[in-house]
């Protein structure tokens, strides 16, 4: 970690950056847990009517034995991962052929679908449940407004940062809620499978996400994807007057040996202070990319796209990942990875938000004790990933550590801790 020449202590800037990324993750998880506990009182009976790409191989019913459920879940997860890989490779191909505009528009369209249709449906669920006396004209107008501004906010990069961040979190909440409608065993196996896939895709030399980031670096382009970017910390003393902070690192400073895209380490020498006036005040400097991928739902043969985004020091372009909605909502999860922006602002893919929230929401469907345990596990995993990120200075997958820790803690809590706590409470020993 580089902590030279900072007027503020490393704890201030580093701690604040971490807080700025942990806060939206926590808010997303909280909102999904609230939605789930309010709407899903009958968590086991949602199976039969819900078909999507993730249940195409096996649809869980509560009468199967545990072993059957496990086998079915593994099959489901395998199908899902295969589809995601295929779509990610498709994305790499499209990106290779420079169809960026097409990708951008598709992403805007899919975020429109998420916000409009899924957001609308969840609002209808809430309205129906609480019997809120809102009329259809007001509802339609509000939904229309919300959706259009959301698409603009995520699609264009020039809206207020807070608005963009809020809308990204909302998209994460909506997609995560949709994921919680999957059957239980499938969800858990899917989480583990996706974290393993993320690990492979970002770190292996042939992985699609790694290819994507290398392509983007070599071409100095943005990858169209949904990335949550924390507000960068600006050192007040070093902002000179009249300088608008340039947020595109690459455009300003072209390294001459861009051809060495095999060697990601060479980029670590690239000084990320592109801003004309900003010094590299932040300790966490540039490079690393975030792997992003959106999985799409295949519904009746319709393949949606997945968008992987390894956003290296791009703070500027947060483009949406598109979703293709047919009969059922398609899942689009944006980023499966974590990286650093050029100003040191941390970027986290929307897919990470979504999967963390799915894990915690699934834990909430059992009991709140598992929620606390999983939340702590995920935040700890995120902290570990951030430390690794600062240490290695390259694109890292954000899913594996957190999700595997979270699953482990869920199992331990459910199997061991709960009996302990219940027995203690019954015997009036604690709590």
């Amino acid at each position: 970690m580089d902590e030279n020449s900072k007027p503020r202590s490393v704890l201030d800037s580093l701690g604040e950056e971490i807080v700025r990324i942990v806060t939206p993750v926590s808010i997303c998880m909280l909102l999904v847990v609230i939605l789930v506990s309010v709407l899903n009182n009958d968590s086991d009976s949602s199976g039969p009517s819900f078909t999507s790409i993730a249940t195409v191989a096996y649809n869980e019913s509560s009468s199967d034995s545990n072993w059957d459920k496990l086998k079915g879940a593994i099959l489901n997860a395998l199908v899902f991962v295969v589809v995601v890989t295929a779509v990610t490779f498709l994305l790499v191909l499209l990106f290779y052929f420079r169809c960026t505009k097409f990708l951008k528009y598709y992403m805007g369209f899919s975020s429109f679908l998420v916000l409009g249709f899924m957001g609308g449906e969840i609002c209808l669920f809430l309205i129906g449940k609480f019997r809120i006396p809102i009329d259809c004209v007001t509802f339609a107008l509000s939904l229309f407004n919300f959706t259009v501004v959301g698409v603009l906010a995520v699609f264009m990069s020039k809206t207020a940062i807070i608005i963009t961040q809020v809308y990204l979190v909302v998209i994460g909440v909506l997609v995560a809620y949709w994921f919680t409608l999957l059957p239980e065993w499938t969800t858990w196996v899917l989480l583990v499978a996706m974290s393993l896939y993320d690990l492979a895709a970002v770190l292996l030399p042939g992985g699609p996400l790694r290819l994507l980031v290398e392509l983007a670096i070599s071409r100095d382009e943005d990858i169209p994807a949904l990335v949550y970017e924390a507000r960068p910390i600006i050192n007040p003393d070093s902002v000179q007057r009249g300088a608008v902070v340039q947020r595109r690192v690459w455009r300003e400073r072209r390294d001459n040996d861009i051809g060495s895209d095999e060697n990601l380490d060479s980029r670590s020498n690239l000084n990320s202070t592109v801003y004309s006036s900003l010094e590299s005040s932040s300790g966490l400097e540039s490079l690393p990319s975030i792997g992003e991928r959106t999985a799409v739902d295949v519904e009746d043969g319709l393949v949606s796209r997945s968008d992987s985004e390894l956003a290296a020091p791009l703070i500027q372009h947060r483009i949406n990942v598109r979703m293709n909605l047919q009969e059922g909502p398609s899942d689009d999860f944006a980023l499966e990875g974590i990286g650093l922006g050029s100003s040191g602002a941390i970027k986290l893919g929307l897919g990470d938000f979504i999967f963390y929230s799915v894990l915690v929401a699934r834990a909430a469907m059992y009991d709140f004790m598992t929620v606390y345990a999983c939340y702590l596990a995920i935040i700890a995993g995120l902290g570990i990933t951030l430390m690794l990120l600062a240490f290695y200075q390259k694109a890292l997958p954000a899913l594996p550590v957190s999700v595997l820790l979270g699953v482990l803690f869920y199992l331990l809590t459910r199997l061991l801790l709960e009996t302990f706590v219940v027995q203690c409470s019954i015997n009036l020993l604690m709590f």
Binding site: L124, I134, V239
Partner: protein
């Protein structure tokens, strides 16, 4: 504390370097040529002044497509423009932002009065039409919640 009112200009000049991102300071009543004030609420991360004018104009025009929330977002983004006195920024910029604010206020009043009348008045006021208009009945009638 007592020194502050007596020499406000001293405060301005001495804090000039860091004043560039102090968005909320409403101390200056004149345009100090040494200061650069950012028109957006994001400060140095936001738009420059020329881009802001285009941005504000575009959002203002888009808002006429029944999008009052867009006007509200526009005002939020250019909050410093509203807060500062009118000669501080480009006149066009301020004009668009203020018009967006007015538009949003008018729309909000109309919409909220309709929504409140609907929800508070209820069946007593509207009769059986209320049941036809209320959202949860509309959703049930058209099966809008069934396809998730």
């Amino acid at each position: 504390m007592e020194a502050a009112p007596s020499n406000p200009t001293h405060n301005i000049i001495s804090t000039a370097p860091s004043a560039a991102i102090s968005m909320n300071s409403s101390v200056a009543t004149h345009r100090n040529p040494l200061r650069v004030d950012w028109p957006t609420v994001d400060g140095p991360l936001g738009l420059s002044e020329q881009e802001s004018v285009d941005h504000a104009r575009r959002f203002f025009k888009f808002g006429f497509l029944l999008l009052p929330w867009l006007w509200a977002v526009n005002c939020l983004y250019f909050w410093p423009v509203i807060r500062r006195p009118s000669s501080y920024y480009h006149p066009d910029l301020r004009r668009y932002v203020v018009r967006s604010a007015i538009g949003f206020a008018v729309f909000a009043v109309i919409l909220s009065s309709w929504a409140l009348t609907f929800s508070i008045g209820g069946e007593r006021l509207f009769g059986h039409v209320w049941d036809k208009l209320v959202m949860y009945n509309v959703a049930e009638k058209y099966g809008l919640t069934g396809w998730i």
